[in-house]
Subunit: 418 residues, 3 copies
């Protein structure tokens, strides 16, 4: 029988964090050094630094504040996001360097390694959005470690087996993270959660914090999509920035239109606007290598917002009732569906550009294989992670403590809530 009070995390969270952190320091001490040859691939430090900072703001501030919408879960939203982000980044730097370590005995890191690691961390943060509020921080850290491992493995498989270019395989993070998270929440399903949880609510101040996080994501998304674009071909980076900007603009407008259409009173739902305006950025990220014209980006943004808003409106409750997937941040409609759409757009645009049938078919086969590998691996990793987390050793929060900061945080001088 579950205990009547929330289980203490003291004997579980603190040792885990300390062991992990000391382990990382040891690994870094033996195997990691700073790249001394600063100018690699024509990208100088000053060229990359502002975009690195934009990605950093997205990962720490954007994802962190987007998760504050739950009225009693703001500290957990931002605090656990930060913990997961920094742990996942340190872990991803190690994993991404394994190949280098194998050949040279040392992993050399520069600003680009950090950017790539932050993107892996972003994929972990997306997965965590699915189970937010129904897990404790120990769970979240385990999820992050396994998700990042799976994602790096997936990248390596795609690059080794199918010669997918690095940028394309990284951008599949949205698809990987969404399916990983959905499979995980399916396995961690709590009986009785067809009804909304007691504290799964929003109020208008936490809503504003959440919009702040979303706007950070939205404003800096052009950097997220362009930072890894090869600088040697002039204009590719400019194209990535303009395409992302336009796609986001179009999807914001479209999300508002569809949200208003799908409400009987014609009112807008701020959550629609929030999660569906990002759909444009997601799908353009996945399809970017094949987007060359502004109107292509805009059409992708438009379709993504329509798919995402309709998905949010009708699919979220369906997923819960039919598949027992409780998806706190609607990751399926924000990242999953637009990611698939972007994958499809990439396929269609690339086929359109091919001169002969053979190349087109070859490309299609490879492209479909890369999707299948990504989805199967993400589902497998989701199952493994889910089974591991079901173990009672990790002390899952009770149903009535879900979505509640009080289970994990303590303020000595809290003003009485009025």
């Amino acid at each position: 029988m579950a205990p009547q009070y929330a289980p203490s995390l003291r004997s579980c969270l603190a040792p885990m964090l300390l062991v992990l952190q000391l382990g990382f320091i040891l690994i870094y001490a033996f195997y990691i050094e700073i790249e001394s040859n600063v100018k690699v691939y024509g990208i100088t430090f000053s060229n990359l630094y502002p975009e690195f900072q934009d990605v950093n703001v997205m990962v720490i501030l954007g994802f962190g504040y987007m998760c504050t919408f739950l009225v009693r879960y703001g500290f957990s939203g931002t605090g656990f996001n930060l913990l997961v982000a920094v742990i996942a980044t340190q872990w991803a730097i190690i994993l991404n360097g394994i190949e280098n370590w194998y050949y040279r005995g040392k992993i050399r890191i520069d600003l680009k390694s950090l950017v790539v690691a932050e993107m892996c961390a972003a994929s972990a943060l997306i997965s965590i959005g699915v189970v937010l509020g129904k897990t404790n921080p120990v769970h979240l850290i385990l999820i992050a470690l396994l998700e990042v491992s799976g994602f790096v493995l997936n990248e390596w498989l795609l690059q080794t087996l199918l010669k997918v270019p690095p940028l394309n395989s990284i951008m599949l993070l949205h698809i990987f993270a969404a399916f990983f998270g959905l499979m995980l929440t399916r396995i961690l399903y709590r009986k009785g959660s067809e009804q909304p949880f007691e504290k799964e609510k929003v109020d208008n101040k936490t809503g504003l914090f959440s919009i702040l996080g979303t706007l950070f994501l939205c404003v800096f998304w052009p950097s997220f999509n362009s930072v890894l674009v090869d600088n040697r071909t002039p204009g590719r980076r400019l194209g990535a920035v303009l395409s992302t900007y336009l796609a986001l603009a179009v999807s914001a407008v479209t999300a508002a239109a569809v949200s208003s259409l799908s409400s009987p009173e014609g009112k807008l739902n701020p959550i629609h606007l929030q999660s569906c305006m990002l759909a444009g950025g997601v799908s353009i990220g996945v399809s970017m290598p094949a987007v060359h014209q502004p109107w292509e980006a805009m059409t992708i943004g438009f379709t993504a917002a329509v798919v995402s808003t309709i998905g949010f409106r009708y699919l979220k409750s369906h997923m819960l009732l039919a598949f027992e997937c409780h998806d706190t941040c609607a990751v399926l409609s924000t990242h999953g569906l637009p990611g698939l759409l972007g994958w499809l757009a990439h396929l269609l645009l690339q086929i359109k550009d091919c001169d002969d049938h053979t190349t087109a078919i070859r490309f299609a086969v490879f492209h479909i294989c890369s999707l299948l590998i990504t989805i199967s691996l993400s589902l497998c990793m989701g199952i493994i992670t889910g089974l591991l987390l079901k173990w009672n050793f990790w002390r899952p929060p009770q149903d009535k403590k879900c979505f509640d900061d009080q289970a994990f945080w303590k303020f000595p001088h809290l003003a009485v809530q009025k």
Copy 2:
């Protein structure tokens, strides 16, 4: 007789957004392409990108959060700001490219076009501040489209008739937007609004959100003023950044001093500080081409803050009672008066620098003409827009629904407001 419940926007807002957005996509498909020659005017992508992002943050986060101060209007403040910003930017890209289209058949866009378009969008956002809370989103979008059209027309007139340099004519956006907005609110005047509206209130949490927006504007204003400065003359951009920083610093201090002086108890009014510290940025933006010394910038910042704070304190209610202009965000004292002051400072400094009388008089005549054209055009466009918006077809909100999110937004799981 007006209906007792708020009119539904479903049949009006959604079709309008969809038609507009699909129209934009069509126009972009036929006429707009991405500039492939990346290095134009000596400005490379990497040089411009950080400042573009700063302007983007100002337009989306700065203006958006500045408008959250109304206690029940936070979602509208940020949400409608976002919608208007992205629609106005897409529209401005088209309008700004018409001349190119006329000569070459195609509009080529690069990062600079996007920055200029965002500045046009900023002028629409300033105008919208005047009527915030008393209009519905359909109105706001119409205002944005017409204001941007008027502003681009004004720019074209100034550049064609008077050979005003592009940067100078863009910086008149503060004056254009303020007078456009004031004329608009004059025409849309609602009887009985001499008394403050029922919900036109601030609380201390929304006040903090609003300060956040203002500080975003304040921090990134140096980028706003310097991003379009020609990089070929070395030092001009540095001068613009330093002047703007100093002017903002001086006007923050001065606004606090005047605010404390004008209160019988010596207390500060946070709204004074907020709107009047921006006055320095506005007036330095307008007068920048003639400012060469730090002390000139500081004196302009000082005067702007004094004028703006006194304008806010005494002119706002006077405008309402005497001219029936209800100005929600005090745009007259934040953008209008400091803009005029900056125009005057530009005139005086330029005359001081002239060697002979003839040049000075020529310059003064041209400078006065450019102001007259700007103000007349803005007032005309304001009248046209106002008359269009008076049409009941657009379903204006009722008086008691003004400044209320509930007329436009719906949350499914809202926590009970305590």
Copy 3:
């Protein structure tokens, strides 16, 4: 006997601000001009500008919002922070230029001068954190002027007497500011404040604002530490960025672990996480010139977070009871102790790198002297400032008005607090 109502600041604050500001304008008019030779020390405008903006965001938004945690003191936290920051920056530009003025008769400013001045302002903002809520704005401005003067004097002494490189002496700002603030609060001690002040409380919305400020600091701290690093040695700047990022990441994880360990229920304290995650940034800043490997940075971050969290948990109340130091923002454990730790790490790492004993001992003597000078000067300036502020002429707030916005701010249309 103290009056029953709060003393009006009208006759004190406004004249002070006006006199100061007009004085600054006069000094700038006669002695300060903008550097026309843009490329100095191999740093171009475009290289430096993005990092300048990051520092600007930290000073205005980061420190400002970090101080909003007090439930009734949010406007003062952000508003006074802004006033102090801009006044201190203007003052620091003048003081830093005195040597130039002495030799050339003019002070030439460029972006780097502004960055250095903002760092001096940051030291004033740290000191102010100690006395936040127990002082009025007039006090805060006096503190800022004296603290900046003392800090610039300290820098000059270190550079002249001990040939300490400029970057190293600037980074001692954390130590200087913390000891200055502690001595000041010791002298301004109010009897009876062993008990927490009536309004010294946090609520969960102001907590989120405060976390926002902290995350701004955390995200942009790599820029703070790297902006002044010499660009001529390639890779130094990259090293500074990576070290700072890793140290911050490690200290966030460690702070969470120690916070959970030190609570009987294993819960996290958000204030621990907030103030102690910054410890990594502080100590790496002070020790940076000697940090060359990622693991060194991570170890320093780990130790700093342990020291800082334990300091916060046990030392804060001890300082209050034993030494009568009431430290509002826990500056001792956020900046003081990690600063000293960084100083020690610098010493040890540098000695480890030395080839022979003589150099090592020489370095150690110089390094210890520089710390002693810094601490003695900061304590002296703290005593002088404290004695000046005890004068009743400045109208200190009464005990029951401490930590209360209402003593200084007035809103005309405040919604009734529910």
